[in-house]
Symmetry: C2
Subunit: 672 residues, 2 copies
C-alpha cells in the first residue's frame, strides 16, 4: 500500500510508492520544488519540512551538508534525499499520511508564465510574409460509385482533386484510408479533403499527403502550433493556418525542471536508467497540457491541428525526439542531429491530429540550437545590411554576428547566475523577487521593488544586474568585485564566509534570514557576464571587426525584456555602445517558429540560414580564455572599452590598474 503524501500550503496529496523521493512525489502532485541540480542533493534548493511527527519510519532520509543540524531537528529535509520507506506493515492496517510543507520562498509562483491565466506576449496577429499555405482543405463533390464506374474510393478522391483543383498524385496514409470508405459515405460523397502539399524536410514540393476527409457540411479550418520549447518554459501559440491569425496562446514551466534547471543537469539526468524516456515524457506532457488548455478554451478539435513547428535548443530538441543528448556535452560536443527529421505527432504522443507533421527548427551546433536559428530568422538578422549582433541571454548566452552575407555563431556557457543560480539569494523572476534596486551613494541604503510588490524573497536576474551596477557606481563595490573595505555602512558586513551586502533585513521578508549579496555571489555574476562579453569579443575578432563597429544589437529571449539596459552596460554584461543600437525583441524563438509554420519560403530560408551559419566552438578558440580573463572586472579590465561607464565611476584609473595586477583571487571562491 502506498504512502499518502500531502503538500502544504497547496493542499494536494499523492500516493507514493516505496523508494519515491519527496521531490518526485511533489512533481507527481503538481507541486514544483526548485531543483536546479536535478535531484542530486547538490544544490539544497528542494528543502521542505516534514510536519508529521508520525512520519518517523515512513520516510528514509539521506543526510546532506546543505542542511544545518538545527534545520534537521526542525524537520527540514531535502526533497530529493528523502524517500518513502518500506511502509507495507504500517500501511496495510490503513492509510498512512505524511504532511510536508513547502517553504514559501521555494514555491514557484509563476508570474510571467501562464499558469495563473497570464498569456505569453503577443505575436503578430497576421503576417505579411505568409503565402501559399502548405495545408489546405478542398471541398469535393464526388460522383457516387455505380456499376458503370466502381473505381475505388481513394481513386475517386484522387480523380476529383486533380480535376477540380489540379492537385495531382495524392498520397494517403494508412489511418486515413482505413476510415475513407465510411467517411465518404457518411458525408454523402460531399467531403472536405485536407491535404498537406509540401515536404517540410526538403526544398521540394512532394505529392500531396491527404490528412483528413471530413463531411463538407461541417465547418472546417486548419490549425497549427508554433512552440517555443525552452529549458525553463514552454510557450505554445495556436494559429489558424489559412489566415495566420494567432487564436490563443499558453505557457507553462517545462516539467523537466524537476530533473534539473539547466541543460547540463538534464543531460546528466538522461543518463540514468529511464532518464531519457522520462525527460521526453515530461516535455511531451507539458506540450500536451498546453494543447489541452488551448483546445479547451477555443473548442477547436485536436484532429484539426495539422502541423506543429517547434524551436528549442539542441538539448531540448534531442530530448523531445528521444535522441540521446549524451554526446552534446562530451568533447568535442557533437549533436546527433542538427536538422531533425520531421516526425508525426502520433510518433511522439502529441495530442494533435496523429498525422500532423512535427518539425523542429534546425540547430547549428551542440550549444547553438533551433531557438537561435529561429531568432536569426525572426529578428531579420539574415536579411540586414547592418553589422548586427544577436544575443540570447540565459543559462547559456548564444551569440550570432553577421549581416545578410555572412553569419557566425557561438555559445558561451555563462552559467545560471543571472537566472538566480549559484547566487545565495537568487531566484527566478517570480513573486517576491527583487527586480529593481537603487542605492543611496552616501548611506548605501537601498530602495527596491519586488514582483507583485510581495515581501522580498530574493533577487532575480534584472535585480542582480541593477544591484551590481548600483554597488559599483556608488563605490560600495570595487571593479575587482570586492566590497570596499574602507566604506562604513550598516548594509556592508562580514558574513559567514566572506563580505556581503544586505539588500533586505529579515523582518521585511517572510524568510528566516536577510536577503544578501555576497562577494562569492558577485564573483559568480562576474564570471557569467565575462563569459558573455568574451564571447562577443572573440566573435568580432574572429571576423576582424571591432565590437564598437556593431551597428545593432538585437536581444532575444525573455531575459532581455525586463533588464535595465544602462545597468547591464555598466557591469559590462553588454558592450558599451550607444543605447539606440540595442533592441529587445522578446520571444524570437517562438516568433521564428510561427513564421516558419506559416510560410514555405521562410522554411527555405531557415534551412539556408542553418546551412550557412558558421559555428565557432569557443572551447577550441585560443583567444577566448584571454578575453574572458580580461572581462573578469566590472565593467572590464580595459575601461577604454566602456567610456560611458568610465565617466560614472568614482575611483581613479590608478586604483583600477592596481587591482588589475592581482586578478587571481577571482579564480576560485575560496580566495575572496
Amino acid at each position: 500500500m502506498p504512502l499518502v503524501v500531502e503538500f502544504k500550503p497547496a493542499g494536494v496529496a499523492v500516493a507514493a510508492k516505496e523508494g519515491t523521493s519527496l521531490l518526485e512525489a511533489a512533481t507527481a502532485a503538481g507541486v514544483q520544488l526548485d531543483a536546479p541540480c536535478g535531484g542530486q542533493g547538490r544544490c539544497g534548493r528542494c528543502k521542505v519540512r516534514v510536519e508529521s511527527r508520525a512520519a518517523d519510519g515512513l520516510l528514509r532520509y539521506r543526510g546532506n551538508a546543505r542542511l544545518t543540524p538545527a534545520e534537521e531537528t526542525k524537520g527540514y529535509r531535502l526533497g530529493c534525499q528523502t524517500f518513502v520507506a518500506d511502509v507495507h506493515d504500517r500501511c496495510a492496517q490503513g492509510e498512512e499520511r505524511v504532511l510536508v510543507s513547502v517553504p514559501r520562498s521555494r514555491k514557484k509562483v509563476l508570474r510571467r508564465l501562464g499558469h495563473a491565466g497570464a498569456r505569453p506576449e503577443a505575436l503578430p496577429a497576421s503576417s505579411t510574409w505568409r503565402e501559399d499555405p502548405a495545408i489546405r482543405t478542398f471541398a469535393l463533390e464526388i460522383e457516387p460509385p455505380s456499376l458503370d464506374d466502381n473505381t475505388s474510393d481513394l481513386d475517386r478522391v484522387r480523380r476529383e482533386l486533380a480535376r477540380q483543383y489540379g492537385v495531382e498524385e495524392i498520397r494517403a496514409s494508412l489511418d486515413v484510408v482505413t476510415r475513407l470508405g465510411r467517411d465518404l459515405r457518411e458525408a454523402d460523397w460531399n467531403v472536405a479533403v485536407t491535404v498537406d502539399t509540401s515536404d517540410r524536410d526538403r526544398d521540394i514540393r512532394l505529392s500531396p499527403r491527404v490528412l483528413a476527409a471530413n463531411p463538407a457540411r461541417t465547418r472546417h479550418a486548419e490549425y497549427g502550433l508554433a512552440v517555443d520549447v525552452g529549458t525553463t518554459s514552454v510557450v505554445v501559440y495556436l494559429v489558424q493556418l489559412s489566415s495566420g491569425r494567432v487564436i490563443d496562446s499558453a505557457s507553462a514551466y517545462n516539467a523537466q525542471i524537476a530533473c534539473g534547471d539547466d541543460v547540463i543537469s538534464r543531460i546528466m539526468y538522461s543518463q540514468r536508467g529511464q532518464g531519457l524516456a522520462r525527460l521526453q515524457q515530461l516535455i511531451v506532457g507539458t506540450v500536451n497540457e498546453l494543447i489541452d488548455e488551448l483546445l479547451g478554451r477555443t473548442a477547436i478539435r485536436a484532429v484539426d491541428v495539422y502541423e506543429m513547428m517547434a524551436a528549442g535548443n539542441t538539448t531540448m530538441t534531442h530530448i523531445l525526439l528521444g535522441v540521446d543528448p549524451k554526446y552534446l556535452r562530451e568533447v568535442p560536443y557533437t549533436p546527433t542531429l542538427a536538422a531533425a527529421p520531421a516526425v508525426l505527432a502520433g510518433e511522439l504522443g502529441l495530442k494533435l491530429n496523429p498525422r500532423a507533421r512535427v518539425s523542429l527548427m534546425p540547430s547549428i551546433g551542440s550549444w547553438v540550437g533551433g531557438d537561435i536559428t529561429a531568432g536569426v530568422i525572426s529578428s531579420g538578422l539574415y536579411q540586414t545590411d547592418k553589422l548586427t549582433l544577436f544575443m540570447d541571454i540565459g543559462t547559456n548566452g548564444e551569440l550570432v554576428l553577421g549581416t545578410r552575407d555572412w553569419l557566425i555563431a557561438c555559445a558561451c556557457s555563462a552559467g545560471p547566475a543571472f537566472e538566480g543560480g549559484g547566487v545565495s539569494n537568487g531566484m527566478r523572476a517570480t513573486s517576491g523577487a527583487i527586480e529593481d534596486v537603487w542605492i543611496d551613494a552616501a548611506t548605501l541604503e537601498p530602495t527596491f521593488r519586488t514582483i507583485d510588490d510581495a515581501p522580498p524573497q530574493g533577487l532575480c536576474g534584472s535585480g542582480l544586474i541593477e544591484l551590481l551596477a548600483e554597488l559599483l557606481i556608488t563605490g560600495a563595490l570595487e571593479k575587482s568585485g570586492r566590497f570596499a573595505r574602507d566604506r562604513e555602512a550598516a548594509r556592508l558586513r562580514q558574513g559567514d564566509l566572506c563580505m556581503e551586502y544586505v539588500v533586505a533585513w529579515q523582518p521585511e521578508t517572510e524568510l528566516d534570514h536577510d536577503v544578501v549579496l555576497t562577494e562569492m555571489d558577485v564573483d559568480n555574476l562576474i564570471r557569467a557576464k565575462a563569459a558573455l562579453y568574451a564571447g562577443c569579443s572573440v566573435l568580432c575578432r574572429s571576423v576582424g571587426v571591432a565590437l564598437a563597429d556593431v551597428e545593432q544589437v538585437l536581444i532575444g529571449g525573455a531575459f532581455g525584456q525586463y533588464v535595465n539596459l544602462e545597468k547591464a552596460v555598466q557591469i559590462g554584461l553588454l558592450p558599451d555602445l550607444p543605447l539606440g543600437r540595442f533592441r529587445f525583441l522578446g520571444n524570437t524563438s517562438a516568433l521564428g517558429a510561427y513564421m516558419a509554420l506559416l510560410c514555405p519560403d521562410v522554411r527555405r530560408e531557415v534551412r539556408d540560414v542553418a546551412y550557412r551559419m558558421t559555428y565557432l566552438e569557443l572551447s577550441a578558440d585560443n583567444s577566448f580564455m584571454e578575453e574572458y580573463t580580461s572581462a573578469l572586472f566590472l565593467p572590464h579590465t580595459d575601461l577604454e572599452a566602456f567610456p560611458s561607464v568610465k565617466a560614472l565611476l568614482p575611483s581613479s584609473r590608478e586604483a583600477c590598474a592596481a587591482h588589475a595586477a592581482l586578478p587571481s583571487h577571482l579564480g576560485s571562491q575560496g580566495a575572496t
Copy 2:
C-alpha cells in the same frame, strides 16, 4: 475460471472462457476445423463429437438442422454452435475438462502446403529482369568529430554518403536517428549504412531513406519477402535483394480460414464486433509465423529484412491493411483502395525491420485483385503480341484477356464447388482426397487414386472434374446434368434427396458413409463452370473477338496445377481450344510479387498495367446471364463450340436439344 477443452486426436487442450465456441477454442488450440461458412451454423462442416458425458451443463448448444437426431444423441455437435456455458460454480472447485473429438475426415491434413515441411514451388533462383536494387548498403569510413569539426552525427553520415557514393539528400526516420549517435560510436565510425533509394508508391526517385547503420565489421545482406496472401493459403519467399536469390520459402493456411472459407464469409465476419481487427490479426499472425519459420531456418535477422511485396485479392488486401472490406460486396462493389499506400512493417505488426516498407500489388476492382495484377506481370501477358486469356481459377474465377496493347479483366463468382464446397463429399486437395477417376463405360465401375494413397475421404477439385467428365463420356450423366435414368448400374442409385453415383463404398473408406456425387452436386458444379465459361465468352464478346481466336490460355493459381486439361474441356470448364494453347503457370501471384520486389522497372510496369487494365463488371453486363444460361450444360448448349467433346459424346444432338427445352430445373436445387 475458464473451462479446459481438450481436442482429440491432436491431444491439445485450451482454456476457454464463457461464451467461447468450440470452433474458436479449436482455433486457439491450433486445431483447424473446417468452417466454410465462417461459423454461422450454415455449412455443418465443423462437426465435432463431445465425448465427456460430464460436459452436460458445461456447454451450451444451439440446435441445428445440419445434425440428425441420431448424431445429436451420439454427442455430435457443430463446433460453431456449441459454447462454453457459465461454469463459474463448477469450475471454482477445481479444473473442469471437456473432451472433444474431431472427426478425422474434417481434420485438415496439409499436403501441398508447408506445415509438414513441404516447400512451395520454386521460383526462379535469380532473375534476368533484376537491376539496380532499391535497397543498398554502403560501407562508410567517417572521420570522427573533433573540436574543429563537430558537425552533427547525421550530417556526417549525409556528407560521406554524398562524397563517397553520390547518394545525396538522405532522410532518416526517428527510430534510426535515436540510435545513430551510439551506433556510430560503437562502430568506431566505420558503418554500413543501409538505404532505400526509391519510392515504391510512385514513379519517382525520392531522397534516399536511411534504414539502418550497422558496424561495418559485421557481415550484412539485405533481404526482402515476396508474399502471396491467398484466401486459403499464404506463401512467403525470403529473397536476398542484392542477388535475387530465393533463400527459402514457406507456406501455411491463412489462419482466417477459421472465420470462413471464402472472401464473402470473411467480409461478413469482418462486420461483427471486432471482426475486422481479428481477421487482420490472423493474417498478420500467419505471415509472422512464416517469417519466424524462415528466419529460424536461415538464421537471418528480422532487422535485415527491409522490404515486403505482397499480392492478394482485393478482400485480402483490405483486411491486411485494416481497411473495412464491407463495400466490396455491396452494390456497386467499390473497393476503398485499388493501389494501396505503402505502409511500414511496424505499422502492421509484421516482424521485419520495423521501417521495412510493405507494398501491395494494386487491385483492378473489388473482385480482380493484386494477385491478378501480379499474374498479368509474371505471365508476361502484358508484353505479348498474342491474344491471350489469363485465368485464375478458385472460388472466384478471375479472367484477363488482352495483349501488350490492351487488357480487360472480369471476375465470375464461380463459387467454391471446385474447391469442394457445396458438394456433399467435396474436400480440399488433402490426404485421402480422390484426385483421379476413371470409369468403365460398360459397368460404370470407377477406378480412382487418392492423395497419399490414403483411404478415400471425399473428392477434391481435380477429382470432381475427372468424375464429371467420365460420367458424361460414359453416358452415365446426361448433358443436362441429370443421371441417365435408363442406365442400370450398382453405382447409380436413388439417394435421400436425388439420384447419386457412388464413387467409393463405405468399407473402403474410414467414414461412416459412402463417397457419392449427387445430382445436386452436379448441379452446383455445372453452375460453377458455367459462370467461368460465361465470363470468358462475355470478355471476348466485349472486345469483339471469338473465344476460338484466343491464341494462348495461361492458367495461374494452385488449382490449375493438378487439373486434367482434357477433362476440364470435356465438362466445358475450359474452352475447347487445341491443348497446345494452354499453359499452367503455377503461383503467378507470388512470382509477380517476387519480380516487383526485385525490380523498380517491374514496379513501374505493375502500376502501368493496373492503370490501363479495364475492369468489366459482369453483374452490370446484360449478356452475362444469357451466356451463363447457355453454359448450364455439359459441356455447353452449343455443342459446336466444343467440337472435340462432341466427337466423344455417346448421345445424339437431338437429346441435347430436348434438354435445352427445359433448363429451368437447374435453377434451384429443389427441382431435381
